[in-house]
Amino acid sequence: MTYQEKKSIVSLISSILIFAAYSLYRYPQRPEGALDSKEMFHYWGSFVLVLTLVSIAAHIVISIIFNIVFRMTTGEKEPTFADELDKRIDLLAFRNSFAVFVIGFLLAMGSLVIDQPSKVMFIVLIVSGFLSDVTGSLSRLYHYRRGV
């Protein structure tokens, strides 16, 4: 298995773990009471912002650790540039990831149309963001293994 395939798997697993751990920690802290209160908007806003920051920081740390472990275990140096295959796979992964997020966004807006509480809209948006991230990693892994 090559560096890029291993990296896609690590990225996939870390995305799932980060999202699961953060959600399990933050979701029980949601405010009770009025469904559309100012407090609730504050909670969901901070949920998304902190999740984004935590996710970026965790991915950077995991990527550094992965590179160190990769060098130690294989004796190879990780590629320092993206060639034409990497760029093409990145584009395909981004396209799939974007499509998933757009579907999630439309579902979130649809939830408001059918008079669901705004909490549902935020949950659908957050889950679609997570699923789009997973889709991106899966697409990368698929194309590195099966070709483009």
Binding site: T2, Y3, Q4, E5, D83, L85, G147, V148
Partner: protein, 75 residues
């Protein structure tokens, strides 16, 4: 996914050139080893520029390295 119709003799040529490794060829043509692996497996059709660079690395013409046809696996 459409079948890759551009095949190549890269694996055979590497062995004929002092058993050149995939990494050595990758360094020579400016791509990652993953790309050479994908090319040899027939999972990727290179850009024209990369195809020329690979042919030049073996001091051969494009037609001597790559072929086009229904069966893209190495003949």
């Amino acid at each position: 996914m459409g079948k890759v119709l551009v095949g190549n003799h890269i694996r055979k040529l590497r062995f004929n050139h002092n058993e050149m490794t995939q990494q050595q060829l990758a360094d020579k043509v400016g791509v990652t080893r993953q790309t050479i692996v994908a090319l040899e497996k027939g999972n990727y059709s290179p850009s024209l520029e990369l195809a020329f660079r690979i042919a030049h690395a073996f001091s051969l013409t494009l037609e001597e390295v790559f072929f086009y046809g229904e069966n893209s696996k190495e003949r």
